[in-house]
């Protein structure tokens, strides 16, 4: 967990609340908060991005790290399920690009401002988003060799 003054600053400036493994933010302040984390608070290293579907809503958590202070912070935002759209961090942290593509591939969450919003792990023609809870794992894809 980050130093208490950083948590307090995030709460005051961006409306952050404590969440598992880090903080949670309103979706509107994600971009500004991540820029501040990178430039002001020293979290310059990107780790990963996780998405999950919980209680009918999507949560996307970006993990960033301050290598000198050895702290990993998970910043999560919640959006509604249908028509979900979140700001892309691809121009803040270069490493977010592929992680966001993976989330849009497997969950169908759109990222506003992403430079290359294509599927990454599944074929481009694939229909459906497998990691959603209503997607059965055995869904056959009409495969023709």
């Amino acid at each position: 967990m980050p130093a208490p003054e950083i948590v307090e600053a995030l709460r005051v400036r961006f409306g952050a609340e404590p969440a598992p493994l880090g903080v949670s933010l309103p979706a509107a302040s994600l971009l500004a908060a991540m820029r501040a984390l990178r430039d002001t608070y020293g979290y310059r290293s990107y780790v990963t991005a996780t998405a999950l579907e919980r209680d009918g809503r999507f949560e996307v958590a970006h993990a960033v790290r301050d290598v000198e202070m050895n702290d990993t912070l998970f910043v999560r935002v919640r959006v509604q399920r249908d028509g979900a759209e979140i700001d892309s961090l691809a121009f803040v942290y270069a490493g977010a690009e592929w992680h966001e593509r993976e989330i849009l591939d497997l969950f169908g969450i759109a990222f506003r401002g992403h430079p290359d919003p294509r599927r990454i792990l599944l074929p481009d023609e694939y229909v459906g988003h497998p990691l959603r809870k209503d997607f059965a794992i055995e869904t056959p894809w009409g495969y023709r060799p």
């Binding site: 792990l121 599944l122 694939y126 497998p130 794992i137 056959p140 894809w141 495969y143 060799p145």
Partner: protein, 181 residues
């Protein structure tokens, strides 16, 4: 040389490597010799003794395949040399899971190989999809994509098992339909 019993676990190369074993009649005279044999026996003997596989590993089985081609299990002594392009390969060893994104490429590679060509399906993922067979992005077995001649079981198959699979393919080539599995 006395008939050696195979070491347990050590696969035994198939019979039919010496000329006397495949020819109808062999006459040796000073300075040379004459062998009388059927054409397909000669061609099959040549094909099975120089099976050139395509370097094509998909997943973990590829590492065991690489270990089989390396020094300890050495497939080079059986005439097996890896070729990087399908145009120069005889056999394709599918080593690993076949996914829906990869399947059309496997079909293209198979079509690019020239006849006669064979396919060895190595490992449970290529045989049947293994524990991934119900997953949305996995083709449950490479025989949905290309015809397979030999299935080698294991996850991953040990190098000895892969060698036994190659020997089974050699028996198949030599003896045709009457080959014992």
């Amino acid at each position: 040389m006395a008939e050696d019993l195979p070491v347990v676990g050590q696969p035994r190369p198939p019979a039919g490597t010496a000329l006397e074993e495949i020819a109808e009649e062999v006459v040796r005279f000073p300075g040379g010799g004459v062998a009388l044999l059927r054409a397909d026996a000669l061609f099959h003997w040549a094909q099975k003794s120089s099976l050139w596989p395509l370097t094509f590993g998909l997943a973990c089985c590829a590492i065991e395949m690489m270990a089989t081609f390396a020094g300890r299990f050495d497939l080079d002594r059986f005439g097996v040399i890896l070729r990087p392009t399908p145009r120069q390969a005889d056999v394709m060893i599918i080593a690993g899971t076949v996914t829906i994104k990869m399947a059309p490429r496997i079909r293209t590679l198979y079509d690019q190989m020239a006849h006669p060509k064979w396919v060895i399906s190595m490992g449970s993922c290529a045989n049947s999809g293994d524990h991934y067979r119900n997953v949305y992005s996995v083709v449950p077995g490479v025989d949905h994509v290309i015809p397979v001649d030999v299935y080698v079981a294991g996850c991953p198959p040990t190098p000895e098992a892969l060698m036994e699979g190659i020997f089974a393919l050699q028996r198949q080539i030599m003896e045709g339909d009457r080959a014992r599995a």
